[in-house]
Symmetry: C2
Amino acid sequence: MATRYERIADDLRSLIASGTLALGEQLPSEPELASRYQVSKPTLRNALDVLQREGLVEKLHGRGNFVRRLLPQVTYDSDRRAAEARTTAAALQIRVSSSKLKAPDELSALLRVPPGAWLTEYIYLTHQEECPYSLARVYVPYDVADPGMPTTTPSPWGDDIRERLIIAGIQLASTVHRVTPRPSTPEEAEALRITARAAVLAIERVTTDVTGRVVEAALLALPCDRTEAIFTTYATIDELQVAQ
Amino acid sequence: MATRYERIADDLRSLIASGTLALGEQLPSEPELASRYQVSKPTLRNALDVLQREGLVEKLHGRGNFVRRLLPQVTYDSDRRAAEARTTAAALQIRVSSSKLKAPDELSALLRVPPGAWLTEYIYLTHQEECPYSLARVYVPYDVADPGMPTTTPSPWGDDIRERLIIAGIQLASTVHRVTPRPSTPEEAEALRITARAAVLAIERVTTDVTGRVVEAALLALPCDRTEAIFTTYATIDELQVAQ
DNA sequence: CAGTGGTCTAGACCACGAA
DNA sequence: TCGTGGTCTAGACCACTGT
């Protein structure tokens, strides 16, 4: 037997699905809904919590509850060219800032440089039509190159930095992506405008050149509930030769 | 200012971290904790909900609240050899079953075969020390090959199937992974013994051979809160030549 | 059966956002 | 200032688990 709050959630869900409650529309206030369903406020809030976890309802303290608009899908692609094709179509606004810093311990381990080595940090904050899309922090050791500020059209994932490394004569050899869903940090929640501790898909990317040196690393945070990430791997030459 | 339930959650969290509450240990009952912290039951439950969402506490209806044991980390690696090295160390129990079926619409799109074409389906359910680890469904079109039942030591991700395809003379060329966090289906929640609708990391893998034919596809489901996935990509030959 | 967590009430009061 | 959601109380009763 379904509980009271589940039945209320079911009812509101079908109202949203049928369009009776339009996207972006404000729901009636909680006391109003509570009296309409003849339940107490905590029970009604329990129902709204279910819908919030499902991503159907957005609660804004002091303003009201709203039917969540369809948010654009976020797509990461390890293949730079495929990503570009999509990016141009999607009209993203990308804000990049850069600074120089001494590598803290986590970054020195990631980039395999001594702690305190100089790094250039690029922070990419991308929006799609006012809606936060992704947060990327890209690091390049200063003794590898100083790519300077982006001049070309940037990519949300800092792929333009890697392009600049290639132009500078650095031969990229392999890229390792470590993908982990985890709760967002307060800074990420703020930047992506998601509720505190809501999950993000974290992608840790490390690019190595043909000499085995780490030439770039990136920490990406994508909103978990509307993200897909695509990775394409090709058989290496020796694998194909073994098969032949 | 932290709320009442947040301060209680903080306190319990530090008790768990310090080992005062041992892993797997049953917490005092909710009325007991409520009176100890001088709060009402709903407030105390709110604190436990926070810890449950963080994965620190497991609530079992009719039995009690327990400190969640450290669950083994689940690691997917796109690199078969790296994955093997880890797997042998970790002592996984893998159960494989196979059946033949006609491709439903979703699978025919994924495998690029006509709807209703014959497929071999392999279901891999992996445990590590009684704890569910991963669920993988692997599909091979029947006209590509019939790998038969696994004889070698299997991999949790069905990599042994791909090994068998290589031995059968099929030249694998590229693999595309599509990674999406999403709520679990009831079957997945059951198999992975996670709470209903808890998030899984879904990996959709499609392997293509040198003729461009899809020779294998897999649908993997991994428990979101303790999973990492690693993807390694190498510069293709033409990228390196362009750079030179 | 006893003991546990799950649901629910009918209020009170606080904190936030916008006018 | 007013209307909104957020927190909290002190209980009652239901549903599940193990003996």
